[in-house]
C-alpha cells in the first residue's frame, strides 16, 4: 500500500537514540501488516556505521544524509532534508520520537507538507475509518491520551500523507536485532544553503545520561507531597539504598523540584519496573497510566483518598518524611 512506513532516526554523534530503535520495532510491525516497506532517515555526520544496525532492527531501506554541518541537530536543514525526501517518495506513514528534537522537527515538517500530526501517541494500529459514506481502509490509528489523560482518543489522518505521529520514549519495546536481515543503504547528497544555516549552535552542554527510567528495575518517585527541591534528597536517598532510579510526577517537575528527564507518566516516560514506589504522589490519571504495567506498586501518601492508592498493591497512609527513614532502616536491617 502506498509508499511505506518511514521512521526518523535520531542520533547523537552516531549513537542512535533508544526511541528510534523502539520506532523501528513498531514501524516493522505496521509495515508487515500493510505488506509494505520500512524505510528510515538518519541525518548527521559520520553516521554511515549505523546503517547495518538500523537494518538489523527492521529497516528495509536507510537514507543517510551525512555532512559536517549536520553534526548537531538544527531545525531548518534537518526539516528541509526530510521535507524534500517526503515530497519525492511520498511515504504513507512517518514516525518520529517525541523527544526535544522530535517535538521541534515534526511540526515543522507537517506544516510544510500540510499533513496531520498527532503528538505523544501511546499506541499505533492499522485499521479502518468510516465517515459518512466514505471508508478509509488500512490507515494509521493514532492513539493518544487527551484532556489531561482522562480520555484516550483515536486520531486518524485520512486525507493527507504522510500520516505523522510522534511517540514518547518507552511506549514500545525494541525488537531483537537480526544481523542476517538485508537492506539497502541510500546516500543522499544534501546541499545546504546559507538560509538553512541561519541559526548556529554556539554552545552545547549535555549531561551524561544518568537517568534511565525505562529499563530501571526499581523506581522511587516523588510528587508534590515531597514539598521542595531540597526535600527531594530523601527520594534520592531511598533510591540509592534500594539501587533504583529517581522518578517524579509532572506536578513535581513543573514545580521545579527536579528535572524533566525524571518525569514519569504519559507525558514523561512510561515505565515498567519491578517495583514502583510513589511517595507523595496523588496519582493523576496520566501518571497512573504511565506506571500501571509495573510489577509492584507501593504508594505512600497522607491522603487516604489519593487516586494513587487505586493502582497500588501496597499502601502506607502517612507522611513520607516519617515513613522513608523507617523504610531505609528496615531495608538495611532486613533478615
Amino acid at each position: 500500500m502506498e509508499n511505506g512506513v518511514w521512521v526518523f532516526i535520531e542520533n547523537d554523534s552516531g549513537t542512535v537514540a533508544d526511541i528510534s530503535y523502539e520506532l523501528l520495532g513498531k514501524g516493522r510491525e505496521l509495515a508487515d501488516r500493510l505488506g509494505s516497506e520500512l524505510a528510515c532517515l538518519i541525518i548527521g555526520h559520520q553516521i554511515s556505521d549505523t546503517a547495518p544496525e538500523l537494518i538489523a532492527y527492521g529497516a528495509d531501506k536507510v537514507y543517510v544524509a551525512d555532512d559536517s554541518q549536520l553534526t548537531h541537530y538544527l531545525t531548518l536543514p534537518y526539516a528541509r532534508i526530510a521535507v524534500d525526501l517526503i515530497k519525492e517518495f511520498r511515504p504513507s506513514i512517518l514516525l518520529i520520537g517525541a523527544t526535544s528534537i522530535g517535538r521541534d522537527l515534526a511540526p515543522r515538517i507537517a506544516s510544510n507538507v500540510r499533513t496531520g500530526l498527532t503528538a505523544d501517541c501511546t499506541d499505533l494500529q492499522i485499521g479502518e475509518y468510516k465517515f459518512g459514506k466514505k471508508t478509509w481502509k488500512e490507515i494509521l490509528l493514532q492513539i493518544r491520551p487527551a484532556f489531561g489523560g482522562n480520555v484516550i482518543a483515536t486520531i486518524v489522518t485520512p486525507e493527507t500523507r504522510p500520516q505523522m505521529a510522534t511517540v514518547r520514549e518507552g511506549v514500545f519495546n525494541r525488537h531483537p536485532a537480526d544481523s542476517f536481515r538485508r537492506g539497502q543503504v541510500v546516500q543522499l547528497n544534501p546541499v545546504l544553503t546559507d538560509q538553512d544555516m541561519i541559526l548556529k549552535v554556539v554552545e552545547r552542554v549535555k549531561a551524561e545520561k544518568k537517568v534511565n527510567l525505562k529499563s530501571a528495575k526499581i523506581i522511587v518517585s516523588g510528587g508534590m507531597g515531597v514539598g521542595s527541591k531540597e526535600n527531594f534528597e530523601i527520594i534520592h536517598e531511598l533510591a540509592g539504598v534500594l539501587g533504583g532510579q529517581v522518578g517524579a510526577s509532572r506536578a513535581a517537575v513543573d514545580a521545579g523540584f527536579i528535572g524533566r528527564e525524571h518525569q514519569v507518566g504519559q507525558t514523561g516516560t512510561t515505565v515498567r519496573p519491578n517495583l514502583y514506589l510513589a511517595c507523595g504522589i496523588s496519582g493523576a490519571i496520566q501518571h497512573r497510566a504511565g506506571i500501571q504495567e509495573s510489577n509492584r506498586i507501593v504508594a505512600i501518601n497522607t491522603d487516604l483518598h489519593a487516586p494513587i492508592f487505586s493502582i497500588a498493591q501496597y499502601g502506607i497512609i502517612g507522611d513520607l518524611n516519617e515513613v522513608i527513614p523507617k523504610m531505609i532502616n528496615a531495608y538495611k536491617n532486613k533478615d
Binding site: 517535538r103 515543522r108 497512573r288
Partner: protein, 281 residues
Amino acid sequence: MLCLIKQVPDTRNITLNVLREDGTVNRQALPAIVNPDDLFALEMATGIKDKYGGKITAMSMGPPMAIEVLKDALSRGADQAILLTDKKFAGADTLATSSLLEWAIRKYGELDLIFCGRQAIDGDTAQVGPQVAEKLDIPQVTFAEAIEYLSENDIVIRRTIDNGYERIRGRLPLLITVTNTADHPRPPSIKRLMFWKKANTKNSVKSIQEQEKLSEKGLLIPVWGLEEIGCSAEICGFAGSETWIKNVENVKLISRNPKLFDTTEQGIKNLINELVEDHII
C-alpha cells in the same frame, strides 16, 4: 513583538465534581485560564520590552470568552491585543490553527519576535509554534529559557535540550517557544488591571455610543473574524484540519485495593519483608 496566548480549561486539577457520572470530563465545569506556559512567553517578551523597548501585541484565537486571557496579558505587560474569533475557527487541529495564525500574523504586519508558550495543557502537543514559524518561513527556537543577548538583528538564546542546554545564535525575525523554566511570570499590575478591567470587544458591546466611549479610552479590543483576516474557510477550523477524531474512550485503568501497612517500625518492616520474600527488592 507578538505573543500568542491560548485560553485553556484547567486540566491540572481535575476533581470529582467535574467528572460526569459516566466518568467523562465536563469541560464547562473546569475554570478557563491562561495556558501556564504562555505566561512565561509573555514574561520573556515583557523582559525584552523593559530592557530594549518595543511594543507587545497579545493575540489569541478562541471563542469570544477568550478576551479574558487577553485582558490578563494586557494587565501583565502587553500593550495591545487582538482576538481572533469566528464560528468557522472552531474544531481546529494544530495544522488549521497554524494556518489561521499565519494569515492573521501576515495581516498584522512585520514583526521582530513572536513568542509562544512551549505547549498548552489541554493538548500538550507543542506543535502550533513550529507550525506557525514554518508557514511564515522564519526560523524557530523552541524550549527557550532566556534571551541572553539582543541587538538590531543578532540574538543569543539559551534553550533546553534533553539532559542539557544549548546556546543558539540567530537573527530576527524569529519565533520562540518558551518553557516554564524561564523567568517566572510577573503578576498583573494593579494599575493595569484596573485600567483594562472594562476592556471589551465591539461584538459584546451593543450600543454604538458605548463602543465609541471604549474606543476613545483605548479599551476596545479588535476582533478579527474570517472576513477581517481574509483567508478561505477551507484552511481553518474543522474544515482545515487533517487530523480527525475517530473515537474517544474513557481511560480504564487497573483498579486495586492495596494492602495497607501502618507507619510503625513494625508495619514498615512487614512491608519490606514482603517485598524481599517476593524477590521484588
